[in-house]
Amino acid sequence: MAAHTSQSVAKAAGDDVENDVAARGRSRRTDSDSGNRGGSRGGKGASGLRRAVGTHWYAWAMVAPVVLVLGVIIGWPLVRGVYLSLTDANERNVSRTIGVRHIEATYEFVGLDNYVDVLSDPVFLQRLVWTVVWTVACVSITFTLGLALANMLNREFRGRAAYRMALILPWAVPGFVSVFAWRFLFNRDNGILNKILDGGGIAAIPWLDDPTWAKFSVVAVNVWLGVPFMMVALLGGLQSIPGELYEAAEMDGASAWQRFRHITLPGLRAVSMTVILLSTIWTFNMFPVIFLLTRGGPGDSTEILVTQAFREAFITSPRDFAVSATWGVLILLLLMIFALVYRRSLRKQGEVW
């Protein structure tokens, strides 16, 4: 259950960022376009706004419910979460209703104490380092595999549709089902993987029992889950590259590698930058894979920032809502910084976004 939730939330967050970024990009482009044409210097004042509302009132009215709903389901929890992280709220002092009895909240505002505590605890740095390693490993492997598969599937060959279906399958299976299936495969004593290795005369591998193998295993499962999305997105990108470019390059005697390097990669640039950003945000917060496969174990070796936040809020007792909220805010800040830096660096490279 947790699997779904977190994924969809992560997706929502990802979509937001994308929309946001896309919207800004578009408006920038419009500005420069109009600049080029050398017209419409005015129309930016209050009268312009009034005219815009007057002309587009219908669009505003259509958008309003969405803005309202997003405000309620995202804005309010966000504000509330930030507030909680500045208090000492836990299970013992929040308000709750037990039957007819209502217990009032008694938690207090403590300022930045939680942040000081979390950041001064070496655990934060440990989790952050592994989270970054995990994200980079997952995204780079997923992207490389996705790109390779997309290139292979972009050719005409028999049974192409069947291959595409098969490769998209991991995406269609609910995340937690796949993760549980993998957990059975990875089982050291009774899992299929070790049975196969055993047949080949190789000693059983402690997939989920050894910190290094466990890290390997969670990355493998996440890659398995993530490749279909990459592949589909990149396949779409590949098909939008005009065939004439390849023909022309071939006429000029460009090798396959040169064609890939100078036509395919630049052609995929816009789409790959977007999917890498999305994939990074999802992976950074990929709760279900870690939680369901290893529960952060063995020990705490595969615990990432979000699973740690969950641990604070749900596993220890009394549940510490304030500290969990603090972890959440820190995660959000990290991702916001990442998105900003990423966009900056793209803009420097002249990417039109």
Partner: protein
């Protein structure tokens, strides 16, 4: 933060939705005691395992024979998720069960949060007079009784008589003997001597008690897990695995342990009475007489196993407390306890039940009773349950070699002091 909070809320909602499948207690209201007759619905969340649940469901639903107007809604909640699910349900108040089967370690926690309804004075008196004193102690918090003990248990050494006989060894009484026996077993049968559960720190307790230590000293408000006895216990755990005496896993421990023992991959395991019914289902124990049980092997100081068990408690927000308390009384009655001792080899909490022929006739009960009498009582503090999580992390690290026994003990101590604020 939107992630955290939204995910939090959604996880909580989904957890509730999942459990609500079984417990639609919209009609749990009512509970009117018209003319002293109980009515309404009692929703019971039971945490017993797969081998036990059918028996408990039957017993629970038979309550209707005594109180025809009361419907019992039986919901099985897997033990591993139960503490969380119960907390989610209790704190939100909607779709909460009326009665829960709580691990003895949870009662003080739930009671301190105000979730439990005090046991009626009459029943509380009976609990004091007719139940084993150490079982009764687990249902109390700050001098008040919040839960009635249903079963009591402790850990013992389960062994495969045939495998031990084949290897020519006696059931070990100390860890040293265990290592010798394991070597002989590996030699003769090629199988492992012991399965030591590596993903749950409850199984660490016999090791620390064996060295004369304990997790905490509640009287003096002192954390003791990181003292020399604790360090020694982590060393022992590591040594059992590295010496080849024991096999272990850091995930899926329960299933792997039961599979290994039932199929003869391991000759011994440390486990409790709740595993008896499941073990009998295995190939190795088609002949029930092949299952032997002994006291947990002693460490360098003594042999010690934790006292565990389950209590039944009523939710303070239940709309039908009268029927719920009656249900608890029924489920902990002598008749029911004797029945589960007979069917599932579970140990009664009523002193008088041990005089019944069915209980006397159960070999497992006869073994575990003296073991329970000697079992180490844990500190019944609200934080009891939450100590196991950081301990698990360190125990698994020590057992898989990810950190040294000294570091594991030290980190466990640090984490414990974070939970037990103000303790030494």
């Amino acid at each position: 933060m939107r992630r955290g909070i939204a995910a939090t809320a959604l996880v909580a909602t989904l957890a509730l939705a999942a459990t609500a499948c079984g417990g639609d207690d919209k009609d749990a209201a009512g509970g009117t005691q018209a003319g002293g007759e109980l009515s309404g619905t009692v929703t019971w969340w039971d945490t017993s395992n797969d081998a036990e649940k059918a028996s408990f469901q039957k017993i629970a639903e038979a309550f209707t024979a005594k109180h025809p107007k009361v419907t019992v809604k039986y919901v099985n909640v897997p033990y591993g998720d139960a503490q969380n699910k119960v907390k989610n349900a209790f704190s939100s108040g909607s779709d909460a069960p009326d009665v829960i089967r709580a691990d003895v370690g949870w009662v003080a926690d739930f009671a301190s949060l105000g979730y439990l309804d005090e046991v009626p004075a009459e029943t509380a008196k009976k609990v004091d007079a007719e139940f084993l004193s150490q079982a009764a102690a687990s249902g109390k918090y700050e001098g008040k009784t919040y839960a009635v003990p249903q079963v009591i248990d402790t850990l013992g050494l389960f062994y495969n008589k045939k495998m031990l006989a084949d290897a020519g060894v006696q059931p070990p009484t100390t860890l040293e003997e265990l290592k010798t026996a394991a070597a002989a077993i590996k030699d003769k049968t090629g199988k492992a001597g012991l399965y030591l559960r590596g993903d749950d720190s409850y199984w660490f307790l016999p090791l620390i008690y064996g060295e004369g230590g304990d997790l905490v000293d509640a009287k003096n408000k002192t954390v003791t897990v990181d003292n020399p006895a604790g360090v020694k216990a982590f060393k022992t755990a590591r040594d059992l695995v590295t010496s080849g005496a024991a096999i272990t896993n850091a995930t899926d421990g329960w299933n792997n342990m039961q599979t290994a023992f039932k199929t003869g991959q391991a000759a011994m395991m440390i486990n409790g009475p709740w595993a008896v019914a499941d073990s009998y289902a295995g190939d190795q124990f088609k002949d029930k007489a092949n299952l032997g049980i002994a006291a947990v092997p002693a460490g360098s100081v003594k042999a010690g196993a934790p006292q565990g068990g389950h209590d039944l408690a009523v939710y303070a927000g239940s709309k039908n407390t009268a029927a719920a308390h009656a249900f608890v009384e029924y489920m902990t009655s002598q008749e029911v306890q004797v029945q589960s001792a007979k069917d599932l080899s579970l140990l009664p909490t009523r002193t008088a039940a041990y005089d019944q022929p069915d209980v006397k006739g159960s070999e497992m009960v006869q073994f575990f009773k003296p073991a329970v009498d000697k079992a180490v009582e844990r500190a019944w503090i609200p934080e009891n349950g939450s100590l196991f999580e950081p301990l698990k992390v360190e125990y698994t690290k020590a057992i898989t070699g990810a950190s040294s026994p000294e570091d594991a003990a030290k980190s466990a101590g640090v984490e414990f002091r974070k939970i037990l604020k103000g303790w030494k």
